[in-house]
Symmetry: C2
Subunit: 265 residues, 2 copies
């Protein structure tokens, strides 16, 4: 596990022959005012920005969040991450993106990779980061955490994620809904990502268990495409957007006994 | 589940006889520049701030994060949340805190409750929010999500939380270490909070499973009391701080088959 001294580092002040700094900048869920001050600072201090796109020439959600901040003096490098789930299909794209970034870092430029949400929570930044660590292990890396979509969804719907001894599971729906059912017995809150392929089955499962009323569907919170659906049964038969998520609570689950202080082993 | 129209609302512009707005403001892990712009705006626009303290007159971590932002024109209401884990001991304190806030809201003042991390992720704000919903259900509530300590810890240690089909479990260690072992078989990343009472047992468990090298200990990331320990075995016999956490990865776990698109039911 790499680790670096972490004084915030303005890469632009390095001499041109030094290796540039790779910044992974979390932009949060989509509203400009949910960027952190640190993200603002790094974006405005770095000439070379990188953004993920689904295909050459396609829109970038990350870029759209900070469109008002990007100036003509900055260069935007588009890196392609196709909307596919098979790692074997994706790997050459990860390698190409990482190589493009590593070349610029090796040439002495810093690169700020802009990533919706939090860069290290299902962010495309992770693939670039891994590739840069492999190709250019001496490159300084700084990650600026961002507000995750699920934290923003909880805030927006006034649905606490966890209090006291609660447990939270965060999982992509790609393992099928059976596992979601199981998780709802062990966790107070289940955050379900990539719900698109299993939406109808998920609604059935939550209805069968009487938990549909404790679930909420959220997509692109804080943007002009925001969707918040408190009654998720109304979504049956609809195909949700790729970035949408479901927060499901199970207030009835049987809890294991809790240690109070250190009295019990 | 309550839900509100969510245009950001500057409570101070309401006429004095209206009910004030309750803001739950996430401050992030401890560094001032990890506040969001929205948190800055709400803190500066709200005269009455509330902060959690462990005991009357004790320091408040939340207050210390934003000490430089608070002006003489603002009032800071201290609300006591003792460092106890028994809900029956805590309930009268939650009720008292909620009542104090509800009275000010009913009098027409808005209240910004300042909360380290994210307000809805193990935040003391949740107890005030629930009590205000009970006493004054018509009060407008707005929650400003914050960077969680575990997101900041992952960024700080350059340890991705989840990529692709990974799963994350977030749980307090109050259920004992046996459950942590089980969770490491089902989840790629386990975020363990409130590790204080089980630290030695946890280190033993991670060593037995060969996972100690994939774990990291973090406390108060981004503050001047920050502790980051990459080799957690060196912590044996030490009593960690209440706010410390452990990120543990299990790169070897056997994964269930994944659905690719919708081909498999």
């Amino acid at each position: 596990m790499p680790m670096q001294p972490h004084a915030p580092n303005d890469g632009e002040s390095l001499p041109p022959t030094s290796i540039g700094t790779l910044y992974g900048v979390g932009l949060g869920p989509g509203a400009l005012d949910l960027l952190t001050m640190r993200a603002f600072r790094v974006i405005s201090a770095t000439r070379l920005l990188a953004v993920p796109v689904k295909a050459v020439g396609a829109d970038s959600f990350a870029r759209s969040i900070v469109a008002d901040l990007i100036t003509d003096q900055q260069e935007v490098l588009e890196l392609t991450f196709p909307m596919r789930s098979d790692p074997e299909v994706l790997r050459p794209h990860w390698e190409k993106a990482g190589r493009a970034v590593a070349e610029r870092l090796a040439g002495g430029e810093s690169v700020a990779f802009l990533c919706e949400g939090d860069p290290f929570t299902f962010g495309t930044f992770i693939y670039v980061f891994r590739e840069v660590c492999r190709l250019l292990p001496q490159a300084p890396v700084e990650v600026i955490p961002g507000i995750s979509a699920y934290h923003a969804a909880a805030a927006r719907t006034l649905m606490p994620l966890a209090a006291g001894d609660d447990r939270v599971a965060i999982l992509p729906a790609t393992y099928g809904v059976e596992i979601v059912g199981e998780m709802l017995e062990r966790f107070d809150t289940v955050v379900l990502l990539k719900v698109k392929p299993v939406m109808d089955q998920l609604i059935d499962l939550l209805e069968e268990r009487g938990l549909a009323k404790h679930a909420v569907f959220v997509n692109k919170v804080g943007t002009d495409q925001e969707q918040v659906v408190a009654d998720i049964t109304t979504l049956k038969g609809h195909t949700p957007d790729y970035l949408s998520l479901v927060l499901a609570r199970n207030p009835e689950r049987l809890k294991e006994p809790v240690l109070r202080g250190c009295r019990k082993k």
